[in-house]
């Protein structure tokens, strides 16, 4: 049965959904008759402000940072601003795409959002000035009121409708000083989350909605050879079984019937060429690529490493390896698809990449983009995984078409972890040439592994096979370190396990490779690890300040209780410089992190507590990857597809303390969501190396 909604019923249903989606106290919801002043901002007659954010809120706090930027520039209290993710449109795109990634949320949108708020202010003041016969230059907005000096003319809502009819000034004057930038404000989305309100896509409901749960094939792909759904169809509540390109979906009146039905499905997949692929074969493939004779693309070839090696008193060499990592957001992929009676399509989805998802929606539905309304919900975590849900989106549309009803399509945890788009596995061979007094004469790094960009962009091929993937050498190719001679090359080694951006992308593995190898060099040369890094960065005052700040805050070099050691790491990514010191011990062979000290130079801080939370979360996620995370491939499929086998860090392994030092150097504003992650793993590994004298050249630290 297709819900034959009247227009009124349709609007009412959408309206109630949007209220649920907005995740804010009702008191902050804009009232009726909100006037759009710019693409980003609407002002209601009661003075409340609606901000259409170009970013997805997935816990990184950009909706709060955006509200802060707008509230301060416009002149309203933060509590007057309600934020929702915009629908994809030109004003919300960066480089042609509406997408939340690359730690761009604040640094890319600070300018446009302050401009939008300044435009709105100018329009409101122009309207007020005209109405009261005053000079607009003498007026200002504060606390949501238009003021002429100390005299209050009225709330901004009184001028909103008239202001909306006025021209939008192209270059409005910004406030000389933003009153909120750099302060700690409470997150706008937290109260609803603490009350358990239905803010996630998985919480939404619609009249007539049925639930579909997927059972899919191995990560290496392929269509099912046989689907036996007899047991499934016997489950009470099951409506239908829909064949999908790589599996099937069970549709039922409720989630539990669909889950039971999906578990009862018998699916056979043909034994394809990848049916024997496993983690050992992938590791061997990367080792082969490390030793490949032909010239690999070399983004760095400074000086003559061969000569440095020939002149060296000592050469140190080591091989490092990391596994595939899953993003593992707590909310697995799900979305709601409703074909409407008027020929349109409405989709609710937890997406980080609205335009990419729209591409999947239009391709699967055959509808033009203007017939599609895409609502971005808040996300139960993203970390890059929700940048690419083309298959999951396509499958949801196939199911909705097949059953001709609005469908809530779900992946169980096993598919969320089992369908790939992982942080690539990668290896590196590093070689250091040391002079007779232990000084570094040169460094050579070859990395080998999958090309994330080729997987992620497919079927487009922005890189040729065997070419250079910049993300595979991220934070190595552009390092500020001066090693003397420096040779960096990359041997592409591709496997049928799709890879995608994972929080901090290539900086995660490369930071580990380089920073841990540097500690091996320091040990061999008899140099303090901080001193070695200070030497390699002696030419760069900004980087030295980051190192010195973290060292001082962490008490580097000061005595520690017996059985404890410190490790340091420094990684630059996403426009920010980050150094961390981990203080760790071993208890029955298990690492224990007592304290992490972070120094982050992100240029400027906008939303201070939000930035601090991102540092804390990045550190914990980095430590999680270091300690226990690895996707195991067995028989061409992911073997560890739930949290009993994919080991995320739990509270007992979390640091007792994380101390954060922001360095506001005034340089170009950098990212905050990703840069704190990469130094965490090498800083921990270096602490353990200092403790035991044994390097850890393969992650995770804890054996499976």
């Amino acid at each position: 049965m297709s819900p034959a909604l009247t227009r009124r019923g349709f609007v009412a249903a959408s309206g109630s959904l949007l209220v649920a989606l907005a995740a804010r106290p009702a008191s902050a919801a804009p009232g009726a008759g909100a006037a759009p002043l710019t693409a980003f901002l609407e002002v209601a007659t009661d003075g409340r402000v609606k901000l259409w954010s170009p970013t997805t809120e997935m816990g990184q706090g950009t909706h709060t940072a955006h509200a802060l930027l707008v509230a301060g520039e416009l002149g309203v209290p933060l509590s007057a601003v309600a934020v929702e993710t915009a629908r994809p449109a030109a004003p919300f795109r960066r480089n042609g795409q509406m997408s939340s990634g690359g730690s761009w949320g604040v640094r890319a949108w600070e300018g446009p959002l302050r401009t939008a708020a300044a435009q709105a202010r100018a329009m409101l003041l122009a309207e007020a000035a005209a109405r009261h016969g005053l000079d607009p230059a003498a007026l200002d907005i504060a606390e949501g009121e238009v003021r002429d000096g100390a005299r209050v003319l009225g709330g901004i809502g009184a001028y909103a409708a008239g202001a909306a009819a006025r021209p939008v000034p192209a270059e409005p004057a910004l406030r000389a000083r933003h009153p909120l930038a750099g302060t700690a404000v409470p997150r706008v989305d937290i109260p609803a989350k603490v009350r358990g309100e239905p803010v996630f896509c998985s919480d939404l409901s619609l009249p007539g909605l049925v639930h579909a749960w997927a059972r899919l094939g191995p990560v290496t792909g392929g269509a099912p050879a046989r689907i036996d759904d007899r047991a499934t169809r016997a489950v009470p509540g099951v409506i239908d079984v829909v064949r999908l390109p790589t599996g099937a979906a069970v549709v039922a009146t409720g989630n539990w019937a669909a889950i039971r039905g999906a578990e009862a499905l018998a699916l056979d997949f043909p034994e394809g060429p990848d049916a024997r692929l496993d983690s050992a074969a992938i590791s061997a493939g990367m080792t082969a690529a490390l030793g490949r004779a032909e010239a690999a693309p070399a983004p760095r070839a400074d000086g003559d490493f061969a000569a440095a090696e020939a002149a060296a008193a000592r050469v140190i060499e080591a091989e490092y390896e990391v596994p595939y990592l899953a993003h593992a957001p707590m909310e697995p992929w799900n979305c709601i698809v409703r074909f409407d009676a008027d020929g349109g399509l409405e989709v609710w989805a937890p997406t980080q990449a609205q335009d990419r998802l729209m591409g999947a929606i239009t391709a699967a539905s055959g509808l033009p983009a203007e017939k599609v309304r895409l609502h971005t919900t808040q996300l139960g975590g993203g970390f890059g995984r929700r940048l690419r849900d083309m298959e999951g989106m396509r499958d949801a549309i196939l199911v909705a078409r097949a059953v001709n009803r609005p469908v809530h399509f779900h992946w169980p945890r096993e598919e969320e972890l089992g369908q790939g788009w992982f942080r690539p596995a990668q290896k590196a061979r590093l070689k250091a040439a040391l002079g007779s007094s232990g000084q570094l004469l040169g460094l050579a790094i070859r990395t080998a592994g999958p090309s994330m960009v080729m997987d992620f962009a497919a079927p487009a091929t922005p890189i040729r096979e065997g070419g250079l993937d910049g993300t595979s050498v991220q934070s190595l190719a552009d390092t500020r370190y001066r090693f003397g001679a420096y040779r960096l090359d990359y041997a592409m080694a591709r496997f049928p396990v799709p890879t995608a951006p994972w929080r901090a992308v290539g900086a995660t593995q490369n930071g580990y490779f380089l920073e841990c190898f540097l500690d091996e060099v320091a040990m061999a040369a008899g140099i303090d690890p901080l001193a070695l890094r200070r030497t390699l960065l002696a030419h760069d005052a900004r980087a030295l300040r980051v190192l010195d700040t973290v060292a001082e805050a962490a008490g580097w070099g000061t005595p520690l209780p017996a059985g404890r050691a410190r490790g340091i790491a420094y990684v630059e990514s996403y426009g920010s410089l980050c150094a961390e010191v981990v203080e760790a011990s071993l208890a029955d062979g298990r690492p224990r992190v007592h304290r992490v000290t972070v120094a982050l130079d992100c240029g400027r801080v906008i939303s201070r507590d939000g930035a601090r939370a991102q540092v804390e979360g990045g550190v914990v996620q980095g430590l999680s990857a270091a300690l226990g995370e690895a996707v195991e491939i067995r028989g061409g499929a992911v073997a560890n597809r739930n949290f009993d086998g994919y080991r995320l860090l739990r509270m007992p392994d979390a640091p007792a303390r994380i101390d954060v030092q922001f360095i506001e150097s005034g340089e170009t504003i950098g990212g905050v969501g990703e840069p704190p992650l990469p130094p965490a793993a090498p800083a921990l590994v270096n602490a353990l190396f200092a403790l035991t004298g044994r390097p850890i050249r393969r992650l995770p630290i804890l054996a499976a």
């Binding site: 997935m58 816990g59 990184q60 706090g61 409470p186 997150r187 989305d189 937290i190 109260p191 989350k193 603490v194 009350r195 358990g196 309100e197 239905p198 803010v199 996630f200 998985s202 919480d203 409901s205 009470p236 409720g254 989630n255 539990w256 889950i259 593992a328 957001p329 707590m330 909310e331 697995p332 808040q378 996300l379 139960g380 975590g381 993203g382 970390f383 169980p412 945890r413 507590d609 939370a613 804390e616 979360g617 990045g618 550190v619 914990v620 996620q621 999680s624 739930n642 949290f643 009993d644 995320l648 860090l649 739990r650 509270m651 007992p652 979390a654 640091p655 007792a656 303390r657 994380i658």
Partner: protein, 149 residues
């Protein structure tokens, strides 16, 4: 037909006896605060209280809670000391796991009003947070334990 008491209200639902409490709450009672994360009791996103103790509702058949008192995040009312502490400490990031974290903490404080850090870690070890808010969760539990005194 199953009878249970949820947040102080007697409820009757058309559910098979083996239907997990999670789906009874979410699909039949429209209480969405307990969330699906793993389906096997490994992540704690579905945590609710049954007679004051924390259970994983995704693996708790509804028949086992007949005649017992179920409390979900919606039943804490919003002004619970833990909810206030969670806001004061600005704990959640994505927030998906936080209802389960708060209820797990409520069970801890009911049993151990002044937990040590080690007791907090042990009690909370079954609740995953991918965003990494563990330090703020600890701080919020400590604060709530102090304020409840």
């Amino acid at each position: 037909m199953a009878r249970l008491s949820v947040n102080g209200r007697q409820r009757e639902v058309e559910a098979a006896p083996d239907m997990p409490l999670l789906w009874v709450l979410r699909d039949l009672l429209d209480l969405k605060g307990a969330r699906y994360g793993c389906g096997i009791g490994q992540c704690g996103a579905c945590t609710v209280l049954v007679d004051g103790g924390a259970v994983r509702s995704c693996i708790t058949p509804v028949e086992t809670v007949a005649g017992r008192e179920v409390t979900t995040i919606e039943g804490l009312g919003g002004d619970h000391p833990l909810q206030k502490a969670w806001i004061a400490a600005q704990v959640p990031q994505c927030g998906y796991c936080q209802a389960g974290q708060i209820l797990q903490a409520a069970a801890l404080l009911a049993e151990t009003p002044k937990p040590t850090d080690a007791e907090i870690d042990a009690a909370m070890a079954g609740n995953l947070c991918r965003c990494g808010t563990y330090l703020r969760i600890r701080a919020a539990i400590r604060a709530a334990a102090g304020s409840a005194a």
